[in-house]
């Protein structure tokens, strides 16, 4: 693996800069929106005196750059502010909401790569045939349909009309109460398995299925389309023909030599679609009442809860940088020509 020792350190430093920039922009943007957050903090029946106190407490009476300095100092001390809505530390809120989102996004990405890539490869191997045409059509549809629309349609069709899958929430509260299920890591799939709680596990799985599928539609279509076109391209490469002449069997050429050439770039692009998927996750969470970051961010936005909004934005930035680093490392590991 040609990854130089300083590379990861350099990337981490660059990521830190990016995150700092995102933080500053998010902070300034929330402050220049013409809203009066002190009303929210002080409550609906606050007196002029109370509003003034709220402004002082929230440092809204100081210039923006002073506010930003205060925020940064607190931020690095691990104090991301108090949510104006929940009155709890933002960091606590975020860490509670994060596993729910991660569970959803990871499930979606697993689905996207486990289904999407083989689908694309299968399509490429049937290039020009009826099956290829059908897959091509479906994936174009999948890549171009808005997530929230599919979410609403599937929720209504499968959850409400057909009643096959639950239409929302991570787990049935009643089941939690009856079986005494306790979240440990916040990943309910893992938690229920650790506790050997099969009824909750099945319920969690069933509830995860629909939102994860909806969320996976875009990355799934993307990876299917990319692996299809890359595989078609790779199959026309000269080395495929030379291996054939030299007597290497077809299946080994396809599933060893061609496949790796085709999927290395797919994995790279899946990483890049992570950002889009997180945004998708926010909408899917709002629709499926999923208590994750998106739901939290949505609620925060609707109630001018600035510290919470900034916290979500920064957390997403951190994840996005981390994923991109991992993707680049994986790409370098798969393709020896990539030098990092």
């Amino acid at each position: 693996m040609p990854i130089s020792r300083g590379y990861v350190a350099k990337r981490l430093m660059l990521s830190a800069l990016v995150i700092l920039g995102v933080l500053a922009i998010a902070f300034i943007m929330t402050r220049i929106i013409p809203a009066r957050p002190e009303f929210l903090w002080a409550g609906p029946h606050a007196t002029e005196e109370q509003l003034k106190m709220a402004r002082e407490k929230l440092r809204l009476d100081r210039p923006i750059y002073i506010q930003l300095c205060y925020y940064l100092i607190d931020f690095f001390r691990g104090d991301w502010g108090i949510s104006w809505r929940t009155r709890l530390p933002v960091l606590n809120d975020l860490l509670t909401a994060l596993p729910a989102t991660l569970e959803l996004v990871i499930a979606a990405f697993l689905l996207a790569s486990i289904v999407g890539i083989p689908l694309g490869i299968y399509s490429a191997l049937n290039y020009g045939g009826l099956r290829d045409q059908v897959i091509k059509f479906v994936t174009v549809l999948g890549a171009s349909t808005p997530v929230f629309w599919i979410a609403l349609v599937l929720q209504t069709a499968l959850g409400v009309w057909a009643g096959i899958l639950p239409a929302g929430k991570r787990v049935d509260d009643y089941l939690v109460y009856v079986t005494g299920f306790k979240p440990i890591t916040g990943f309910y799939i893992i938690d229920s398995l650790i506790q050997g709680n099969i009824p909750v596990f099945l319920d969690v799985l069933k509830r995860l299925l629909l939102p994860a599928f909806v969320l996976s539609i875009y990355p799934l279509s993307l990876s299917a389309r990319m692996s299809r076109s890359l595989m078609i391209e790779v199959l026309n490469e000269n080395f495929i023909r030379s291996l054939e002449v030299w007597g290497v069997p077809q299946r080994e050429i396809l599933f060893k030599y061609a496949l790796r050439n085709a999927i290395a770039p797919v994995i790279a692009s899946l990483g890049l679609s992570f950002g889009y998927t997180l945004v998708g996750a926010f909408m899917v969470e709002l629709i499926f009442v999923w208590p994750g970051l998106g739901y939290y961010a949505g609620m925060a936005l609707l109630s001018y809860d600035y510290p919470a909004v900034i916290g979500v934005v920064v957390l997403v930035a951190i994840f996005y940088s981390a994923i991109n680093l991992v993707v680049d490392l994986v790409h370098a590991w798969l393709d020896p020509r990539v030098r990092l």
């Binding site: 490469e237 291996l243 054939e244 002449v245 069997p249 080994e252 030599y257 050439n261 020509r337």
Partner: protein, 324 residues
């Protein structure tokens, strides 16, 4: 050295089915290759020489359809089912033009060699590694262990072509088809690779089918030469005779077009006109349009091959009167 024909191509016609139409890449080609000889197929790009090589080494692309027969040791290779064909793959091995794209960029040279050896001889990985090292030594690559561990982009063109020759020889072939193996290399490397192929041919008692557009290389490597033009073998004979005493007007023009180091000419001679469109090739002589001997009352019926001496054939109307 010699001993009867090993490979016989009879009336081979190869068509590519493309979106732009059917390209008739090779038309009614016949060629007899004797055991242990080296034969050159000479022609310009698009003359069908590479397609002929691919057909012989059983690796035509999927959109190509071949008719006629390629008889190797009494078996018609074109009539084999996929399973039987897999058995003959490697019997007739091939070295390709561009060494940079011959290997998969994501796997080491060793991985390629090991997979070839494992499937051809059903040997273990360890045994395959030993044999791979031996092969690399045979193609005169130094530091075999390093080459085995190297990825294609880490080797120079010449080294890669040597590795490709090692891979082609890994199957222990009887026939080696070399499709312009020196075209993409620089001149000094070219001569080294040519020398290596000649040495290996002698050592391993290979039958060599050398495809090139370079008449100089043809004269250096092969004892027999077949000239192809627009999918048709227009002339065939011993290399010396074909080059020194070309019968077909096309061959004559080709020989004249070779730049000389010793003689300085005013202009390099060239052949006016272009290759005919192979989607709709002329029914008669494919070279008629560019030939100086073409007359107004030219006969456009198909040209027959004429025997013009021992092992000498030419497809030209000029000679049809000689011995009909």
């Amino acid at each position: 050295m010699s001993g009867g024909s090993l490979l016989k191509v009879l009336g081979l016609t190869i068509n590519y089915y493309t979106l732009e139409g059917v390209v008739k890449a090779v038309r009614n080609a016949s060629l007899c290759v004797n055991r242990g000889e080296s034969i050159c197929i000479v022609g310009e790009s698009g003359s069908g020489k590479s397609t002929l090589g691919l057909a012989i080494s059983l690796s035509l692309p999927r959109n190509a359809v071949a008719e006629g027969s390629i008889i190797y040791e009494g078996v018609d290779l074109l009539k084999l089912n996929p399973l039987e064909r897999q058995k003959y793959r490697g019997e007739i091995s091939m070295v390709f033009q561009d060494p940079a794209t011959t290997f998969s960029p994501l796997f080491t040279i060793g991985e390629h060699l090991i997979d070839i050896l494992r499937h051809r001889f059903r040997v273990s990985r360890d045994e395959a590694v030993v044999r791979a090292r031996e092969l690399l030594r045979k193609v005169q690559l130094p530091d075999q262990d390093r080459v085995l561990r190297a990825y294609p982009h880490e080797l120079s063109g010449g080294m890669l072509q040597r590795a490709a020759i090692a891979a082609a020889l890994a199957t222990d072939p009887k026939v080696l088809v070399a499709d312009e193996p020196t075209t993409m290399l620089d001149v000094t490397t070219q001569s080294q690779i040519l020398e290596l192929i000649k040495v290996l041919k002698r050592e391993l008692d290979l039958t060599l089918l050398f495809i090139t557009h370079n008449l100089g290389i043809a004269s250096e490597v092969c004892n027999r030469t077949a000239v192809m033009y627009a999918g048709v073998i227009v002339e065939e004979g011993s290399t010396d005779e074909v080059l020194l005493n070309p019968l077909h007007p096309y061959t004559a023009k080709l020989v004249k077009a070779v730049p000389s180091l010793t003689k300085r000419r005013e202009r390099l001679s060239h052949i006016p006109g272009m290759l005919p469109d192979l989607r709709n090739p002329p029914a008669g002589c494919p070279f008629a349009e560019r030939c100086e001997f073409t007359t107004h009352y030219f006969d456009y019926s198909p040209v027959k091959h004429v025997e013009a001496g021992p092992g000498r054939r030419v497809a030209c109307i000029l000679y049809s009167g000689v011995k009909a």
